[in-house]
């Protein structure tokens, strides 16, 4: 089957590499950018920065709570700390440290979280955090960003270095299509309408933006014209873009590599229910933990791939 995709790719790369390359560039642009990592420098792709700026990089050992506190302190001293570890250890393990020392204290700390979601793959559910977006978006002051590919992750990393305030940046491990432009401008809090449509809106974030692009082509073959909106910033949410699109299409699907409870879909539902109640179908993990497997197998088994977005779009359409 050859689909007529509105976005295509020639290369695949992991989003964590987009982070690593963006981090290095941010470090070259601003001498106040510093890095911290809890014994996962290679996995987070922070090694190039460490090599070029050894005096501005701090290996903290396997001690995430301390790392978050250190980052808050460095921010007090005028630095722009990027603290990196796996998303699981960057959120649930250190929630109280983030809450008190970073969010409540409004510190300019960038929490950089790799290996988020099911696509972490074979390591299994202990490491596949599916609750991080919910935890982080509940914190006042926190900005929450989940970019979709290498280029967008790199652009987001550069953007958060220039933004003043606490940020949670989520990215992942698997090699993934690079389908957004290298020279994109990343505007925090501004949704990106990637594909125009009239029948149903697909709001997607992270790796599932690619699945949404594929789903759009599949739906189009059946005569259904879906609008695809890339919600790279979960908080602050671009409510205007959401409402404008749903006003036109009349129904929507949310797609995320996260629990349905507390994720992007919940935020969209809150927006719709207050301003324009409309059918919304969720593509996300339904109150369960993950397991070992390849990213493709896991997205299929847990109902997160393009086929599932297509099914959800049809359910939403039927409810119009």
């Amino acid at each position: 089957m050859s689909l007529d995709l509105k976005f295509t790719y020639t290369e695949k790369k992991d989003t964590r590499s987009g982070f690593g390359d963006g981090f290095l560039e941010a470090g070259r642009k601003n001498p106040n950018v510093v890095g911290l990592c809890a014994d996962l420098i290679g996995s987070l792709k922070m090694g190039d920065f460490q090599k070029e700026f050894p005096d501005r990089f701090f290996q903290t050992g396997i001690a995430e709570a301390n790392m978050i506190g250190l980052a808050a302190g460095m921010a007090i001293g005028g630095k722009i700390p990027f603290a990196g570890t796996f998303a699981n250890f960057a959120t649930g393990r250190v929630y109280d440290q983030i809450r008190q020392s970073v969010a409540y204290s409004d510190k300019n700390v960038k929490i950089c979280a790799s290996h988020a979601g099911l696509t972490l793959g074979e390591d299994g559910a202990t490491h596949q955090i599916l609750e991080d977006l919910g935890m982080m978006k509940m914190l006042p002051h926190m900005t929450v960003i989940n970019p979709c590919d290498y280029n967008q992750t790199k652009a987001a990393t550069l953007a958060i270095a220039e933004y003043e305030g606490p940020v949670y940046l989520r990215f992942g491990r698997p090699s993934w299509p690079i389908f957004t432009p290298a020279d994109q401008k990343f505007e925090i809090g501004k949704a990106w309408k990637m594909i125009d449509g009239k029948d149903v809106t697909i709001f997607a974030t992270g790796h599932l933006v690619w699945e949404a692009v594929v789903a759009e082509a599949m739906l189009r073959e059946e005569g259904i014209h879906a609008e695809v909106i890339n919600i790279h910033t979960i908080k602050p949410l671009d409510e205007e873009a959401i409402l404008e699109s749903v006003k036109k299409t009349g129904c929507a699907v949310s797609a995320e590599e996260h629990q349905i409870n507390g994720g992007l879909g919940d935020s969209i539902a809150q927006t719709l229910i207050r301003h324009n109640p409309a059918p919304l179908e969720y593509v996300g993990v339904n109150d369960s933990f993950g397991e070992s497997g390849t990213p493709t197998q896991l997205l299929e088994k847990y109902g997160l791939n393009a086929e599932n977005i297509v099914k959800a779009a049809k359910r939403a359409l039927a409810r119009k």
Binding site: D55, A63, G69, G73, M74, S101, Y104
Partner: protein, 283 residues
């Protein structure tokens, strides 16, 4: 900074104790015990040791900075900050009340001068102070970072993560003090969770450790802080084990955990204030 005499400093300690008792009494909530025990430390630090600027800049560049990890000592910290000119002394009457900058536990959200990070959830202060100390090193700033922690607080695992980091990175621009009063909410630390040999623990983690055996004697506290300062700049973090008595200065409050988080009633306040002469004028 003009050095004040021990008598003058002692008067500030007495006033701080009055402030603390009146503050917690007024709202019938808060933690009087530990700040009473740390009055000499607070006053020695702010009125004798710190090179600081009450005009307050968040980044504190070129200044010695103090952080309070055991945030429930807020009443004592607020008093010493107000008395050293960070904000009006009258503001102490807003402690723990609605729309106040003087939150139950220290916070930055209303921008109270002197506070740089929230504390209250225990065990986080050493990490933050180390981050600030690390930033000072990056900024080529040779001033010091001071921290106060509770002894019960050392039961938190994060403290030991930070202890390891401090020695590994040779954080010799930090002086941490532990309020070693041997009490916590549920009782004596020896019964709740024994800290055993604290000096040996910190030494084993690679710290320089000094002991200030009489933490409620102003001269000893100043000597201890001077001695701690003389150990900075030598490649190791410095720990000052400050032996205090919780509730010091009021005969019926001293030496027990019972006044950790309980305010005095009217009669008890009157009795307590009778033992503490008003020196600088009540707020």
């Amino acid at each position: 900074m003009k050095k004040q005499s021990i008598e003058e400093l002692q008067n500030i300690c007495t006033q701080l104790r009055r402030d603390v008792l009146r503050m917690v009494h007024a709202v019938q909530s808060g933690h009087p015990g530990a700040p009473l025990g740390c009055a000499e430390f607070f006053v020695a630090l702010y009125f004798d040791q710190l090179h600081h600027n009450p005009d307050f800049n968040m980044d504190g560049k070129g200044e010695d900075l103090f952080f309070l990890s055991n945030g429930h000592l807020s009443a004592g910290w607020y008093s010493v900050l107000a008395r050293s000119g960070y904000f009006p002394v009258e503001e102490l009457k807003t402690f723990r009340k609605l729309n106040s900058r003087l939150q139950g536990h220290p916070a930055t959200h209303e921008h109270l001068p002197g506070i740089r990070v929230a504390s209250g959830s225990l065990g986080q202060g050493l990490s933050v102070a180390l981050g600030v100390a690390q930033a000072k090193k990056l900024n080529g700033d040779d001033k010091l970072v001071y921290l106060l922690m509770g002894d019960g607080e050392l039961q938190e695992g994060q403290v030991w993560e930070a202890a390891m980091y401090a020695a590994h990175y040779g954080m010799d621009n930090l002086i941490a003090t532990v309020d070693y009063n041997g009490q916590q909410i549920d009782g004596p630390t020896t019964k709740v969770m024994d800290l055993k040999n604290l000096k040996a623990k910190w030494e084993a983690f690679g710290w320089e450790v000094i002991e200030t055996k009489n933490g409620n004697d102003l001269k000893s506290v100043i000597e201890g802080l001077e001695s701690a300062k003389s150990l900075t700049g030598k490649g190791k973090p410095v720990m000052n084990l400050l032996y205090t008595e919780m509730g010091y200065g009021v005969d019926f409050m001293v030496g027990t955990h019972k006044w950790h988080g309980s305010p005095p009633n009217d009669e008890q306040l009157a009795k307590a204030l009778g033992q503490l002469e008003e020196t600088l004028g009540d707020y």
